[in-house]
C-alpha cells in the first residue's frame, strides 16, 4: 500500500506542477523554459533507470539524443516519414545501437560502460559534424514542423507555440516518469536495484546480471533519444551541440544533483540546472563557477542528491 501511493504521489505532484505553474507565468517565455525542463527531465529519467536503479554510468547519452534529434531532421525529408514516426525511428535506432554497444561491455564489471559510452558519444558527435552533405555539419539543419499544433487548432484548441510545447513535453515527461516508476516496482526493477547493491549477490540469487543491465541501458537510451527528438521538433532546427560531450555530462549532473535514485529528484535536478543559467545571465561569466560549486556542495553534504536528502531532513528520519 505505501509503495503504491509513493508512485501515484510522484505522478500527482508532477501533474499538478505541470498544470498549475502556468498560472504564475508573467510572460510566454516561461512556457519555453518549462518545456526545456520537461525535455531535460525526460532524458534524466532515463539516467535514473540506468544510474539510479542499475548503478551504471553513461557518459555518452547525448549521442542518443543526437540520433533522436537528427532522425526528426532527416527521416521526413529523405524517407518521407511523418515527424512523429521519425521519433519512433530514432528511438528504435538508439535502442539497437545501445544494445550493440552495451551487449559486450555490460558483461564486464566496473566503469567499462562509462568509457565505452564516452567513445560512442564522441563518435556520434563527429559523424554529425563531418557528414556535411547529410547533416548540414556544424551549422545545423532545419527540422520539419510536427503539425500537431495546427491539428489541435482545427479542433478548437488554439495554443501558442510556447504553450503547445510546454504541455506536449509535460505530457511526455509524465508518461516517461510513469513508465520509470512502474519499472521500479516490477521484477526487472527489483533485479536492477539488487545488482546496484551487489552484482555478485544479485547473480547468486539467480538474476541474469548482464541481461538486466543491458535492458536498463537500452531503455535509458530510448529516453534520451525521445528527448532529443522533442528538442529538435520544438526548435525546428538542430545543431550537433545536442550530441556534444558537455550535454552528456549535463544529463548525468542533473540526475546526480537532484537525486539519481528518485525520478522526482532527478527531474528536480533537471529543473535547477535548466533554470540556473537563465537566472544567472547577469553573471554569465561566473555561471560555470556557481554550477561547479553547487555540484561540490551537493556531493559533499547531500550525497543522495538534493531532493531525497531534503525530504529526509523534512521527515526528520536519519539513516
Amino acid at each position: 500500500m505505501p509503495r503504491l501511493t509513493a508512485k501515484s504521489a510522484t505522478l500527482l505532484v508532477l501533474a499538478a506542477l505541470i498544470a498549475v505553474t502556468p498560472f504564475f507565468f508573467p510572460s510566454g517565455y516561461y512556457y519555453r523554459v518549462g518545456a526545456l525542463i520537461f525535455v531535460n527531465g525526460l532524458a534524466v529519467t532515463g539516467i535514473v533507470i540506468l544510474t539510479g536503479y542499475a548503478g551504471q554510468i553513461s557518459l555518452g547519452h547525448a549521442g542518443f539524443a543526437g540520433i533522436g534529434g537528427y532522425a526528426c531532421a532527416l527521416a521526413p525529408t529523405h524517407l518521407g516519414l511523418h515527424p512523429s514516426l521519425a521519433v519512433v525511428l530514432g528511438a528504435a535506432i538508439s535502442g539497437v545501437l545501445a544494445y550493440l554497444v552495451g551487449r559486450p561491455i555490460l558483461r564486464l564489471k566496473g566503469y567499462y560502460l562509462a568509457v565505452a559510452t564516452l567513445g560512442f558519444g564522441i563518435l556520434v558527435s563527429m559523424v554529425l559534424n563531418n557528414e556535411r552533405q547529410l547533416t548540414g555539419g556544424p551549422d545545423g539543419i532545419a527540422v520539419p514542423e510536427l503539425g500537431l499544433r495546427g491539428l489541435l487548432k482545427d479542433w478548437g484548441l488554439d495554443l501558442t507555440n510556447g504553450q503547445f510545447w510546454y504541455f506536449f513535453c509535460g505530457i511526455a515527461l509524465l508518461i516517461g516518469a510513469w513508465i520509470a516508476l512502474n519499472l521500479h516496482q516490477s521484477p526487472s526493477g527489483r533485479a536492477l536495484r539488487a545488482l546496484h547493491g551487489s552484482e555478485i549477490a544479485a547473480g547468486t540469487v539467480g538474476i541474469d546480471v548482464a541481461r538486466v543491465k543491458l535492458q536498463a541501458f537500452v531503455i535509458s537510451a530510448v529516453y534520451a533519444s525521445v528527448a532529443g527528438s522533442l528538442v529538435a521538433l520544438q526548435n525546428k532546427f538542430i545543431t550537433p551541440d545536442v550530441a556534444g560531450f558537455m550535454h552528456s555530462i549535463e544529463m548525468v549532473t542533473m540526475a546526480v544533483l537532484g537525486g539519481a535514485g528518485s525520478v522526482l529528484g532527478a527531474i528536480f535536478g533537471a529543473g535547477i540546472l535548466t533554470l540556473l543559467p537563465q537566472a544567472l545571465t547577469v553573471f554569465a561569466e561566473y555561471e560555470q563557477l556557481v554550477l561547479g560549486l553547487v555540484m561540490m556542495l551537493v556531493m559533499i553534504f547531500l550525497r543522495e542528491g538534493l531532493l531525497p536528502s531534503v525530504l529526509r531532513k523534512l521527515r526528520g528520519r536519519g539513516e
Binding site: 505505501p2 505553474t21 551549422d139 507555440n161 528536480f268 537566472a279
Partner: protein
C-alpha cells in the same frame, strides 16, 4: 517517498526565473556567443554593442530616446540561443534583436523573431540566413560565397587556373569550402587538390606536401579561422612552397600575422574589410570616417585590436540606429520597413543598400583584397 512532498518546487521555479528588467524608451536585445567555442567572434561583438549603446546614449540617444541593451550570452549553443530569443521577445519585450554569432544560433533566433515579427539583424556568415529572404531577418557580414568570389576574381586576374584547397573542418572552414567548390567553376578555375585538417591539429605538412606534389597547382587557398591558418602558413614556408597562398576573411586580423610570424605571412593574400586597413584608405573613401572612429573608440576602451567580427556588430547597430532615426519610431514593423530601405549606409564591413530582395545589402566591393607586405596589411589594387 510519501505524500509529504512540499510545494517548494513552483516557488523556486518562479523565484529563480524572475529577473529585473529596467524600463527604457528603445529596447534592443542581443544574444551573442561571448563564451564557448565561438567566443573569439562573440566577445568583440558583445563589447562593441555595449560600447556603442553607451556612446549613443551619451550623445542623447536616438530621436531623443535612450537605448536599453539587453545582452545574453548563448555560448554558441543553438538551443540556448532560441531560449534567449524567446526571452528577449516575450519577457524583455525588445523592439529589435541583434546577434546570432554563429550560423546555428542565427537560424534558431530567426525562426523565433519571424514568428513574433521582430526585426533581427544576424551577425553570422551563411547565405541561408537571408536566402530565401525572410521579412524580418537581415544580416551584416558578407557571405562565404562572396569571399570565395573575391578570391577567385583575384586569381583569375593573375591567370591562375588550377588550385589546391586546404580547409578547416570547423563550421567556418567547412561552410566556405563548400561555397568555394560551388562557385569555382564560374571562374574557369579547377580545384586539383582538396585537403582538410582538424582545427585542433598542430601540423599540416602532410596535407600541404600532398598539394605540393599535385601536378599543375598554381595557388593554394585555405578557408578556416582560429590558429589553423597560421599553422598552415608556417608549414607552407617551412616546406618552401613558392606558390601564392590565399587565406580567408576568417583570419583578417593583425593577430594572424603575429601568430604565423611576419616572415611566414609575407605575401599572403586575403579578402578583408576596410577596418583592417583604416589608415591606408583614401581620404575621400566613404568608409574612412566610420572605420577610424570605431577603431579609435574600441582600441581606446578595450586595449585590444579591432577585428572584422566586432565590426559586424558595429554595422548591425549602425543599421538599426539609422533605421529607427529614419522611421521616427521604434515600432518593430516600422524598424523593419526602414531597415529594408537602408541606402548607402557606410559601415565597417562595406556600404549597405538593402532592398526587399536583398537583406544583406553588400556586394563584392565590400571586400578589399589585402596582402601582407613588410609585416603589415596593404591593399592590392
Amino acid at each position: 517517498m510519501k505524500k509529504t512532498l512540499t510545494t517548494t518546487v513552483p516557488a523556486a521555479l518562479i523565484a529563480l526565473g524572475l529577473a529585473g528588467a529596467a524600463s527604457a524608451e528603445i529596447k534592443i536585445g542581443a544574444s551573442v556567443s561571448a563564451t564557448g567555442p565561438a567566443a573569439f567572434l562573440g566577445d568583440p561583438e558583445a563589447k562593441t554593442l555595449e560600447m556603442l549603446v553607451e556612446e549613443t546614449n551619451a550623445k542623447g540617444g536616438i530621436n531623443g530616446e535612450q537605448i536599453a541593451l539587453v545582452l545574453y550570452d548563448d555560448g554558441g549553443d543553438a538551443n540556448k540561443a532560441r531560449t534567449f530569443a524567446t526571452r528577449l521577445i516575450e519577457d524583455d519585450e525588445v523592439q529589435a534583436i541583434i546577434g546570432g554569432t554563429t550560423t546555428g544560433t542565427s537560424m534558431s533566433i530567426l525562426s523565433v523573431a519571424e514568428d513574433a515579427e521582430i526585426p533581427f539583424i544576424s551577425l553570422a556568415g551563411a547565405i541561408d540566413i537571408i536566402q530565401p529572404v525572410k521579412p524580418f531577418t537581415f544580416k551584416t557580414p558578407h557571405t562565404d560565397r562572396m569571399a570565395c568570389q573575391k578570391i577567385f576574381e583575384d586569381m583569375q586576374k593573375s591567370g591562375i587556373q588550377k588550385i589546391g584547397m586546404i580547409s578547416g573542418t570547423d563550421g567556418f572552414g567547412a561552410s566556405m569550402q563548400a561555397q568555394c567548390k560551388d562557385v569555382v567553376g564560374e571562374y574557369g578555375i579547377e580545384i586539383a587538390a582538396d585537403e582538410t585538417y582538424d582545427p585542433k591539429d598542430a601540423d599540416m605538412t602532410a596535407q600541404l606536401t600532398k598539394i605540393r606534389n599535385t601536378a599543375g597547382v598554381q595557388a593554394v587557398l585555405n578557408p578556416g579561422f582560429g590558429q589553423g591558418p597560421s599553422i598552415v602558413t608556417r608549414n607552407y614556408r617551412q616546406l618552401g612552397i613558392e606558390l601564392p597562398l590565399y587565406q580567408s576573411h576568417g583570419v583578417a586580423s593583425d593577430g594572424f600575422i603575429e601568430l604565423a610570424g611576419k616572415a611566414a605571412a609575407e605575401g599572403v593574400r586575403l579578402p578583408g574589410t576596410a577596418l583592417l586597413v583604416a589608415d591606408l584608405l583614401a581620404e575621400d573613401d566613404p568608409q574612412k570616417p566610420v572605420v577610424t572612429a570605431y577603431k579609435a573608440a574600441f582600441e581606446g576602451k578595450f586595449k585590444e585590436p579591432v577585428g572584422t567580427f566586432g565590426g559586424y556588430a558595429h554595422d548591425g547597430f549602425a543599421l538599426l540606429v539609422d533605421a529607427v532615426t529614419r522611421a521616427g519610431s521604434a515600432e518593430p514593423a516600422a524598424i523593419r520597413d526602414a531597415l529594408e530601405q537602408t541606402s548607402g549606409l557606410a559601415g565597417t564591413t562595406g556600404i549597405y543598400t538593402m532592398s526587399p530582395e536583398d537583406h544583406l545589402g553588400l556586394d563584392l566591393s565590400a571586400f578589399r583584397m589585402l596582402e601582407v607586405k613588410d609585416g603589415s596589411w596593404s591593399i592590392v589594387e
